[in-house]
């Protein structure tokens, strides 16, 4: 008998009261405790900003029409020389004056791993939205915005629209019907990478980005 069958048999032969044994086990627990009072987008984004600040996430509020110019200002302020962008990024042309190089993530990682790990200063990605209560960005990496964009470069610049804010992760997944199907990778990101493994001393920028800049677009 193979391991799979042996394990399933042992589970099924258990004497404990399981579903199907009558009315012992209810269908699903209630999630009332997850519900929140209704808040405006402005309130939610303020909460998001407060929580992000606690984990060293840098939130920059930007009106929609100034987005491009403010991104330019960030690049200049952070002295970014090599920037990684999605092939679908609308800003490809606009930054070129400031930078030594704009790299486009348009080929498989295997062909340029070294360069990605060693040469890129920063990457700009979009986000699916934000979670107010925990100060969290939600990302669905895709063909045009692969997973490593938000992970390998030392600075991650994420563009977040204030309208895409939800109070909790639970609200977010329901609002976007995630149970209908998930992408190969989905991410919640709450601040730059960190560790406290050395005597509980907090140190930022361990394996992932050292800085997380959130450009919060107010519409």
């Amino acid at each position: 008998m193979n391991a799979r069958q042996a394990i399933l048999d042992k589970l099924q032969q258990s004497s404990l009261k399981r579903i199907g044994d009558g009315d012992v086990i209810p269908d699903r627990p209630g999630f009332q405790v997850m519900q929140r009072e209704r808040k405006s987008n402005a309130q939610l984004s303020q909460q998001f900003e407060n929580m992000m600040a606690k984990v060293k996430g840098e939130v920059i509020r930007v009106p929609q029409e100034e987005l491009e110019s403010r991104l330019n200002a960030i690049i200049e302020a952070k002295a970014i020389k090599t920037l990684l962008l999605s092939p679908e990024s609308p800003y490809k042309a606009s930054f070129s004056g400031l930078l030594d190089e704009v790299r486009i993530y348009d080929k498989a990682i295997e062909s340029w791993k070294e360069a990605l790990f060693n040469d890129i200063d920063a990457a700009i990605t979009s986000t699916l939205g934000g979670i107010a209560e925990t100060g969290t960005l939600v990302l669905w990496p895709s063909v045009s915005e692969p997973r490593l964009m938000s992970l390998v470069p030392p600075i991650h610049i994420a563009i977040l629209y204030e309208s895409q804010m939800q109070p909790t992760f639970w609200h977010f997944m329901h609002h976007h019907n995630w149970s209908e199907g998930m992408p190969t990778n989905a991410l919640l990101i709450s601040g730059p990478s960190k560790t406290a493994d050395i005597e509980q001393t907090l140190a930022y920028g361990v394996h992932g980005p050292k800085e997380l800049v959130i450009v919060l677009v107010e519409e």
């Binding site: 086990i25 209810p26 269908d27 699903r28 627990p29 209630g30 999630f31 009332q32 519900q35 929140r36 209704r38 808040k39 405006s40 987008n41 939610l44 309208s163 804010m165 939800q166 109070p167 639970w170 609200h171 329901h174 609002h175």
Partner: protein, 282 residues
């Protein structure tokens, strides 16, 4: 524009909630009579604590019944993993408190055994329902005095500073953390100080203190230190196990002189109220 937040339609499933949540603590109205369950440690080592409890109950106008056939709640065997032995002794206790009066216990630990562990001990046996009914009648004596009896006390003692150790079973099983504080609060010359790490176990744990004596000793050493650091004149506990452990360690530890004056909370209260003097009823 306010966003629409997902609200689920499914109802809260009550049955599982009930099974996993802690029930509310309910108290009866003051009865005419109560049973006292003395516990074996009180019986052999701290009879004065038991007597003080009896006197305090009577002072509050409650008649005390003490069935002489009672012995031990069964906890030593239960926590040592001798379930059958514990069961037989527990069964003997359950059969001697015939009338439907509350059963009050001058110990959080023995009370905890009878209140929270008897149902588990008898699960799957013909006595399960009996154990459930019995457990509902169990009260910790201090808690009973404070929340059921309308006890009022006059403090006849000198000014003193006291540290109170609340046992883990009082705190976590009997949920009577505040009872001792409330009772002592009636004594106007008693100042109560709280030691650091007040919620941490003193390290007694019955057979644990012998089986893992080094760990237990390290725990009680810290407990003595925290109690001693309060500079209290004495410490109190309403659990004889903790009392025996902490006082025993304090007596051996030369740095903790004042803690040698540790005693059972009930003995202290009855004496201060002038109900007991030199171990004898007044």
């Amino acid at each position: 524009m306010p966003v629409h937040h997902f609200i689920p339609e499914e109802p809260l499933v009550e049955s599982l909630t009930d099974a996993l949540s802690t029930p509310l603590k309910l108290y009866p109205t003051k009865p005419e009579k109560v049973y006292v369950f003395g516990t074996c440690l009180v019986d052999l080592f701290y009879p004065e604590a038991g007597m003080s409890g009896v006197v305090l109950l009577e002072h509050a106008g409650v008649e005390v019944l003490f069935p002489q056939d009672q012995t031990c709640c069964g906890q030593p065997a239960y926590t040592s993993g001798y379930k059958e032995e514990a069961r037989l002794v527990a069964l003997a206790q359950m059969s001697i408190f015939g009338e439907d009066y509350p059963i009050v216990v001058p110990s959080g630990s023995c009370g905890g055994m009878m209140k929270t562990h008897y149902p588990r001990l008898f699960e799957g046996t013909e006595h399960h329902q009996q154990a459930l009914d019995f457990s509902e009648r169990i009260y910790e004596l201090t808690d009973f005095l404070v929340h059921v009896c309308d006890l009022s006390l006059e403090d006849k003692g000198e000014r003193t500073k006291i540290a109170l150790h609340t046992s883990c079973s009082s705190r976590r099983e009997m949920k009577t953390t505040d009872s001792g504080k409330l009772l002592l609060g009636q004594l106007k010359n008693v100042a109560l100080v709280e030691p650091k790490k007040v919620t941490e176990c003193c390290g007694f744990g019955g057979a644990f203190s012998v089986r893992h004596s080094e760990i237990s000793s390290a725990m009680v050493k810290d407990k003595v230190m925290h109690l001693s650091n309060t500079k209290a004149d004495a410490f109190l506990s309403s659990d004889c196990g903790c009392l025996m452990n902490i006082k025993g360690a304090a007596e051996k530890d030369k740095s903790a002189l004042t803690l040698r004056r540790g005693e059972h909370l009930l003995s202290f209260v009855a004496r201060r109220a002038g109900l007991i003097a030199d171990g004898v009823e007044v």
